[in-house]
């Protein structure tokens, strides 16, 4: 994802001199080519996330388009008030780019995990929150985020995410994507865990369960129609996210379903506390209850409630 992001930012910087890459001493190596060719549009601000975002807001007030990048956990938590007062309150055209979504930095432990960032930032007025699922989607999302006038939080993984799309598609901020058709249950995910969700859907298919899979790549504003259709057409929804079950995708979908008022069985799968344990990303996800088998097991519970 990082490479896809950087490749896209490189092209944007080439054609638009208002584009700036600000980084907080993270990702320096992957920025090598960018830095070499666009040194005038690159700043490593050092380890000072709050200062970087405040500065980005000031630059945006002069017409620049700063993409301020570092580990998402450091941006969303350390610099929260700067996101709020300097960027969102003032509607500054700053792109806040957080890497290491969820537990991607698995063995580095919970200080480096962005598992409450969406919860905190979803409440932020004027902020668009985009969480792409794959390298191809990162490219499309980065372009869309650049074209979007206003503050955006772009939630990225690292470099190892598999592609989930096998053909081109249209990416629109605020519009979810149906990745797989099905009528027994709808699995709604966001970010790179959608690869696991699709794997889970494959396994379910072998058991005769046809699961619809929806990619909510924009957490805010959320695509209400695609969720309402899922309620109508499948009657059961499971949200899956590498994030706390409080405040993120699951909460956002729950709000839509509750206000829609039509009956549906509903569960949220995600973290119930800080992430625990160490290992590969896959191992850490399993340790924290959001592995592929655990998605499959959770689907059975929801379907049992539904009465299937």
């Amino acid at each position: 994802m990082r490479t896809a992001y950087l490749d896209t930012l490189y092209e944007l910087a080439k054609k638009d001199k208002r584009v700036y890459a600000l980084i907080s001493d993270n990702g320096a190596i992957v920025y090598d080519k960018y830095r070499q060719d666009f040194s005038q549009q690159y700043l490593n601000m050092g380890i000072s996330e709050a200062n970087m975002l405040g500065m980005a807001a000031g630059m945006a007030s002069c017409g620049k388009i700063p993409f301020a990048y570092t580990i998402g956990a450091f941006l969303a938590y350390r610099a929260f008030e700067f996101i709020r007062n300097d960027i969102c309150l003032q509607k500054q055209n700053v792109k806040i780019v957080g890497t290491g979504a969820g537990e991607v930095y698995s063995a580095l432990g919970p200080t480096h995990h962005a598992t409450e960032d969406m919860g905190g930032l979803r409440a932020m007025p004027n902020l668009t929150l985009v969480c792409p699922a794959s390298p191809m989607e990162v490219k499309k999302a980065t372009l869309a985020v650049y074209k979007h006038q206003g503050p955006v939080y772009l939630r990225l993984g690292t470099n190892r995410e598999p592609e989930i799309y096998n053909k081109d598609y249209t990416f629109t901020i605020g519009k979810g994507v149906v990745l797989r058709e099905g009528t027994d249950i709808t699995l709604i995910g966001t970010g790179s865990i959608l690869y696991d969700v699709l794997e889970a859907a494959e396994k379910l298919a072998t058991q005769g369960i046809q699961a619809r899979v929806i990619n909510i790549h924009t957490i805010k504003p959320i695509d209400q129609e695609i969720i309402k259709n899922a309620v109508e057409e499948t009657g059961a929804i499971l949200t899956v996210e590498d994030h706390s079950i409080i405040g993120g995708l699951g909460s956002a979908v729950a709000e839509v379903i509750a206000e829609y008022g039509k009956p549906a069985k509903f569960q949220r799968l995600g973290l119930k506390g800080f992430s625990e344990g160490y290992g590969s990303y896959g191992e850490v996800k399993t340790l924290n209850g959001i592995g592929i088998e655990q998605i499959v097991a959770e689907v059975s519970k929801v379907l049992f409630q539904k009465g299937c």
Binding site: Q40, L43, M45, G46, S48, A50, N51, M52, L53, G54, M55, A56, A57, G58, M59, A60, S61, C62, G63, K64, P66, E81, F82, N85, D86, L89, Q90, K91
Partner: protein, 276 residues
């Protein structure tokens, strides 16, 4: 001196604002009034009140947003909006609150209030102006208590690293904060030496002496941002407010009001007039 006369008018208006609003941070506003008077009326800052968005303008950021009554008074006197708009600060329908807000108020360059934000924001402006090779200068007023925020020191490092010689930061060094004397709460001294050690072009002045203020605001050093430690008196201009922590956020009572009015040069008509 013209700017001294303007400062006197500003303090009157600042009290009028507070009188109608029913409160405000008067001590901080009075403390910083002379600096703002020289900035706006002493042929220092380049601005056009008829064109607040003029791309070549100098910009001023009131990082200690709670001193905004001084900024409001200066902007009204500079012609950004009619002063009558100031007699409803903090009331329903007014675009003016207890802290300044971008877009709502012509001439305000940043929404401030939470301390420790204005410097980084101003660094962004100064940097953008520098890369665009604009001659515009950026000025920031910080509180001395505000310098207890860690983000100020992140900014202090960045501004010198980026060699922002188009940036001037003025610390309103009145030595008081909300609860007590600064030094009784956090040991800030030697304040100027700290900034010097961070690589700034540091000047120490009497923050109520208009000649010293003007010289400092116009001072530039190639490759370095300038930091002006302006020694000020919180509540300057009203004898019983000067240097008293109590007056961080308080209004005069019936006994104090006549003294304040006399010292600021206000008459009953001024308050009634603005009431109309």
């Amino acid at each position: 001196m013209y700017t001294e006369k303007q400062a006197k008018e500003m303090r009157k208006k600042e009290f009028q604002i507070a009188y109608h609003a029913g409160g405000g941070h008067l001590g901080a506003a009075f403390s910083v009034t002379d600096i703002l008077s020289v900035l706006y009326f002493g042929d220092v800052m380049k601005y056009d009140a008829q064109r607040p968005d003029w791309a070549e303008r100098d910009r001023f950021i009131m990082s200690k947003g709670h001193a905004c009554y001084a900024l409001y008074a200066a902007l009204a006197m500079a012609g950004y909006f009619p002063e009558e708009e100031l007699w409803h600060v903090g009331k329903p329908g007014s675009k003016f609150g207890g802290h300044p807000k971008l877009y709502d108020i012509p001439g305000v360059e940043a929404s401030t209030g939470a301390l420790g934000h204005g410097l980084s924001f101003a660094i962004g402006i100064a940097y953008a102006n520098k890369v665009d090779e604009k001659s515009a200068h950026t000025y920031v007023v910080l509180g001395d208590g505000e310098c207890q925020e860690g983000s100020i020191w992140e900014g202090a490092l960045s501004a010198t690293t980026l060699e922002l010689d188009n940036l001037t930061v003025i610390i309103d060094h009145n030595k008081l904060q909300a609860m007590d004397k600064l030094e009784n709460i956090v040991r800030m001294q030697p304040l100027g030496e700290k900034w010097k050690a961070f690589g700034w072009n540091v000047l120490e002045i009497d923050g109520h002496n208009h000649n010293e203020i003007r010289n400092a605001l116009l001072a530039r050093k190639k490759g370095k941002p300038t930091l002006v430690v302006a020694h000020t008196i919180k509540g300057k201009g009203v004898s019983f407010m000067e240097g008293m922590p109590l007056w961080h956020y308080r209004m005069p009572n019936e006994q104090e009001l006549p003294i304040l009015m006399k010292e600021l040069g206000l008459v009953d008509d001024d308050l009634q007039q603005s009431e109309a």
